[in-house]
Structures are given as C-alpha cells and as structure tokens.
C-alpha cells in the first residue's frame, strides 16, 4: 500500500515560528493604525469645533449688527420722518421694496 508522505522544505517548527512572527507584526501594526486613526480623529474633531467656535463669534457679530440696525433711532441721527407716504399701484413683485 502506497502512503503519500510530503516533506516540507523547512522544519515545521520554523514555519510555526514564522507565522507567529508575522501575526505579531500584523497585530502591532493594526494597533498602531488604530491609535493613529483615533488620534487623527480627535485632532480633526477638535479642529472642527474650534472652527465652529470661530464661526459662532462671527455669527454673534452679525446678530449684534442686526440688533444695532433695528434699534437705531433714525430721528436721533438727524433723519426726519416722511411727511406723507404714497403707495404706487403696481403688479410688480417688488413694488414695496
């Protein structure tokens, strides 16, 4: 009876050790990638939040400007109230602007 017997070109123990080494390197590599990813994400999120805070500062100035314009007393600024208002009959969409 013929028995197939394949012989490895290198010792079985070396194969196992090599595999373990590859797996260990891959594991360490994955950890490094994950840590870098987490660090970059945190940095990016912080950067986005800082930019949002800068935008909020600009928005605050815009809203303050709107309030200032709304609260301006034009008569105190030297402007006189119109003595009469005239409404122009028109079909224009912007007749009242």
């Amino acid at each position: 009876m013929y028995r197939f017997h394949y012989r490895l070109p290198f010792p079985f123990v070396s194969l196992c050790l090599g595999s373990i080494a590859v797996l260990a390197v891959a594991y360490i590599g994955l950890i490094a990638v994950v840590m870098s990813y987490a660090a970059s994400t945190v940095e990016f999120a912080q950067s986005v939040r800082n930019d949002e805070a800068s935008v909020a500062s600009l928005e605050s100035r815009y809203l303050a400007a709107v309030a200032s314009i709304t609260n301006t007393d034009y008569t105190a600024e030297g402007y006189a109230k119109p003595v009469a208002e005239a409404f122009v009959p028109s079909a224009s969409m912007t007749a009242l602007r």
Partner: protein, 581 residues
C-alpha cells in the same frame, strides 16, 4: 491490565469533572456574585475615557434665504486650575492668572489665597472661559501648580435672542449637563452627545457591536436642530416688545409671528427676557416660556373665533342682523359694549368692526351651549403639540356649566383663559380657511451622518368651513381698513385682517379689576392668502386703556417690516387698465 486501564480512565474523568466543577464555581462567582463589578470593569476597559470635553449639537435659526445662523453652539477656550500641593508661589500665580483672566476669575485675591492654602486638595478650578490667546499666554508661563486646560461650553451667539424658546443647558438635578428649558430640553436626545465614539477599543467594537457597525443607532439619533425662527424678524419683534413694555410699564409683553398655513413659527418672544450666556444672573421666573406655559383671558380677539364658529354652524350668515341695546342682563350679570353705546339693528360685520360685547353674546346664544362648547373644546380643549416643554392646558371649565352668562362672556374672551400659542393657532384657523395647524419651531434635524431629516407636522384638522373663515376674514379686513387707528392704518396695496382685544385683569377673588387690563392684538396678511399672522399682547400696561393705542403702532411696524423684508407682492390696488404704450 483492563482493570488498571479502567481505573486510570476513571481517575482522568474524576479530574476532568473536578476541574469542570471548579470552573463552574468560579464562573458562578464571576458572573453571578461579582457580575456587576466585572461588567463595570470591562466597560471601563472597552471605552476608556475620552477627552472629557463638553460636546453638544447646535440649534440654528434659518434666515429667509435659507442660511443657517447658530442660535446655540459651542465655544472653546481654556480653564485654569491650581494644585495647592505643588503651587509654590500663590501670590505670583494670582497675579499671572488675573492678568489674563480678570473677568472670568472665580475668586478675588483673598479667596484665591484661601483656595491655594487648601493643601489637602490637588485640583481647584479658578477661572473659566479664557480665550485661546489668553490660555496660551498663561500656559507659556509654565507656572508650577497652575494647569491650563482646554474646555468647551454652551454659547448663544444671539445672547437674549429667542432665549426663552431656545432654552438653556445646565446640570439641573443630575451631574450631567443637559437641556433644561426650551428647545434645548425638547430636543435634548438629539443634541446630547455620548462622547464615547473616538476611543473605543477597535477589536472590542468590531466583535461585540457588529450590528452597530452596520446600522448605527447613535448616528440616526444625534444631530443638529434647524428651527424656523428668522433672526432678523425675531430681533424686530423683540425690539417692539421691549418698546411696548417700557413705554407702558407693563408686567410683561409677548408676541408670535407664524405662517398660518403650516404652523411654522417665524418669531416668538416675551419681554423681559434673559441672556443664556449669563446664567449666573438669571431670574429663574424668566426661564419659563409664557407663550406656552401661562394662560390669559385674551378679551375681544376671541370674537372672530365666536363668529367663525357660528357662521360655520350655519346659525347666522354675514347678512344676519340683531338689535344691539348697548347692555344686556344675563343670569343677573350685566354685559355691556365697551362704550355702553346701543347700535340698534346692525349686521354681523359691525360686531367685529366695532368690537361689540353684546353682539358677541347674541351670537353665542344663537350658537347654543352645546355647539359653543363643541367648537371651543375642539379648538382649545387640547394642547397644541408645539415642540416646547411644559405646555399647559387652557382653562375652559366655565363652558361645562349650565349658566348662559359663562358662554356669553367666553364669546368675547372673558371667563376662559388660553395660552398665547393656543390663541394664535385658533386665529390662524380663521386665516387659513378653517384648518387647525400644529404650531412648531423646528423644521428639520441635521443628523451627524450628514442626512437632513425634515420633520412632518401633519396636515391639521378642519374646525371651520372655508366659507365661515372667509366671511370672518372679510369682517376683520374691514376693521383694519376702516376702524384701526381711525382708518389711517389701511395699506392701499395690501389687505390686512386685524382685531384688537382689551380684557380686564382678574383679581385673586375671582372678580375683575376696573383699571387694570390685558391688551392683545392680531393681524394676518394678505387677508385672503396670508403669509403671516402676528399676535401681540401686553400684560397690565399703565396709563393706557385700549390695545388699539398700546399695541397698534408695533403691530403696524411689524406688518410693514414683514411686507418689505419678504417682498410680499401687493394683493390689491393694481392698475385695472394697463396703460397703452
């Protein structure tokens, strides 16, 4: 030989069983006895603490062109803490901190030195909300025992703009910052952030939360809130309310501007208000939103509701007449017109145009108690469903009593009390052709995944017939053109429907003051296809008796502002003949 083998096998089996029992016992202690502790320990290893910085979604105003402007967002900067155990020179540290954080320092000089003397402590926060530049300047000095740490906090760019509706974030009764009032509370689940997504153990995440990787429930829930509030209209409304309140020394004033066909609220405010960025100095009473949490007897702006109900029920028509005697006696109570004047035989329009209490009572009697109750219960008997917390119910208990006088007084807005938001919703039903819409402040949720999810606020419920609503609008339109401000309010190119209301304030004993009033006024335009409805009120104004004097100037200011700002095209006054070229 076989017996020996059997003995060995039994020995091995006994060992295996023993080990299994040991493992089972150990498992019992791990999972049952100490399960909770291990679970917590595992959790802490799985999601090790993040940066610890406060995080929360934003709330946005929406400008008329669709641009989003932050109503509530996050500001970032630095906080300063000291470690008394390593702080070598408290005096020098105070000088350095005071130089960059004099306005945000929590302690005065003596207080700082006292804090620095607490050698048993290792961490005391002494200043918050430092700007980036100030924080970096202080950090560069590298003072032993002084730590400069990054921090974020809730920031309202508009300060007091729509403050009661946007709400505040604070610790409340727990130890987590969360929305306490306004939209911050209503949409807290959407705005709050779990903050554990960045530092999770990758492998634990991969193997334990495969489902989450495919469908992340957090991403489907967390986002920003987009409101329908227009910042420039809101500013205008608040300015007008401040003017009314200060001019007439009122207890408070309020206003709402809404799209009557959808219920989208463009602006809403009460005065006095508060600045959400200055929580230290807020009067807690101002945190509540009067527009949904307080009820008032609105007076004569209730008459259009009575009229529309009677017209819708078919018990009267616009051409129906009655004999107005100036005063009537109902259940021994005397009901009179505001000027005690008898108007004789007059049509229904005069009741609205001249705001006649006797006429409104007559209409209520034509409607009958059962139908009156049915209409008013349908309109005011439930909360509006607005997306603000603590909405209260209307007080309409008088409509369940048998005496006719309660129905007669309710017909002109006394004896029943409703919230301003209920009142504007009811009047919007007159404006939009008879549909009771659901008022709302939020149009969409912008999810963190980038998807914008519009909110569906429903189609509304019909309460008046279209004809009844239109006939009532005609009466209110005539009031604006002929009566308001002596007829000078009329805008030749724009139809406006309006109604004023002046109600006596109730005393604690259930009677009414003869010299203290609640003023209200409503307007919508263009009358027969309205873009906006405005409701204004002022509570207990001094030195003025009628709403037509206290509120009309502001109502007209807002009306003209909205027509101009939104470029609402004229709906009347067109040239009927096109001139030939």
């Amino acid at each position: 030989m076989r017996a020996q083998f059997r003995t060995r096998i039994r020995l091995v089996l006994a060992c295996i069983v023993f080990v299994a029992l040991l493992i089972l016992t150990r498992l019992y202690f791990i999972q049952i006895v100490h399960g909770q502790e291990y679970s917590q320990k595992a959790d802490s290893q799985f999601a090790s603490g993040g940066s610890g910085l406060f995080d929360r979604g934003s709330i946005y105003f929406t400008r008329k062109d669709g641009t989003l402007i932050s109503a509530a967002t996050l500001a970032s900067g630095f906080l300063v803490a000291i470690n008394p155990q390593t702080l070598a020179d408290p005096e020098a540290a105070y000088m350095a901190i005071d130089a960059v954080a004099s306005t945000t320092l929590a302690f005065d000089h003596a207080g700082f030195l006292a804090a620095a003397a607490k050698k048993s402590q290792v961490y005391i926060e002494v200043a918050h909300h430092l700007s980036d530049a100030a924080g970096q300047t202080l950090a560069a000095e590298n003072i032993p025992g002084v730590e400069v740490l990054r921090e974020r906090w809730r920031y309202y760019p508009g300060g007091s703009l729509a403050a009661q509706s946007i709400g505040i974030v604070s610790y409340g009764s727990g130890d987590v910052l969360s929305g306490q009032t306004g939209l911050e509370a209503t949409y807290d689940e959407t705005l709050s952030r779990s903050g554990n997504s960045l530092y999770k153990n990758f492998f634990a995440e991969l193997f334990s939360n495969v489902g989450n990787l495919l469908v992340n429930a957090q991403d489907a829930r967390e986002g920003d809130v987009v409101t329908t509030i227009e910042p420039e209209v809101e500013t205008r409304l608040e300015t007008d309310l401040a003017k009314i309140t200060t001019t007439y020394s009122s207890q408070s004033s309020g206003g709402i501007i809404m799209d009557p066909s959808t219920g989208a609220i463009i602006a809403l405010a009460t005065y006095p208000t508060f600045d959400g960025n200055d929580l230290q100095n807020i009067d807690p009473q101002r945190l509540s939103n009067q527009l949904v949490e307080h009820v008032y007897e609105f007076g004569s702006i209730m008459k259009p509701i009575t009229m529309a109900s009677a017209l819708s029920a078919g018990v009267i028509t616009p051409q129906t007449t009655y004999n107005d005697t100036g005063c009537i006696i109902v259940d021994k109570a005397r009901i009179c017109n505001w000027n005690y004047k008898p108007y004789g035989v007059i049509p229904m329009q005069t009741i609205i145009e001249q705001s006649l209490n006797v006429g409104a009572s007559w209409v209520a009697e034509q409607l009958g108690q059962t139908q009156f109750r049915a209409y008013f219960t349908k309109i005011f008997g439930q909360k509006t469903g607005i997306d603000l917390p603590n909405e209260t119910d209307a007080l309409i208990g008088n409509l369940f009593k048998p005496q006719q006088v309660y129905y007669d007084t309710a017909a002109f807005g006394e004896g029943i009390a409703v919230t301003p938001i209920q009142m504007i919703r009811a009047l919007a039903a007159v404006a939009n052709g008879g549909i009771l819409v659901e008022p709302h402040l939020v149009s969409a949720i912008r999810l963190d995944s980038g998807i914008v999810r519009p909110l569906d606020w429903g189609e509304g419920t019909r309460v008046f017939s279209g004809t009844a609503a239109r006939d009532t609008t005609v009466m209110m339109d005539a009031l604006f053109d002929h009566t308001l401000d002596g007829g000078k309010a009329m805008i030749p190119t724009m139809s406006v429907a309006a109604k004023t209301g002046t109600a006596q304030l109730p005393t604690p004993t259930g009677t009414y003051y003869t010299n203290r009033f609640f003023h209200s006024e409503v307007a919508f335009f263009p009358s027969f296809n309205p873009r906006f409805i405005i409701l204004l009120y002022t509570n207990d104004p001094k030195g003025v008796e009628y709403a037509s004097k206290s509120l009309t100037p502001s109502l007209l200011d807002l009306t003209h502002f909205l027509i101009d700002y939104y470029a609402i095209p004229p709906d009347r006054g067109f040239a009927t003949v096109t001139p030939s070229v």
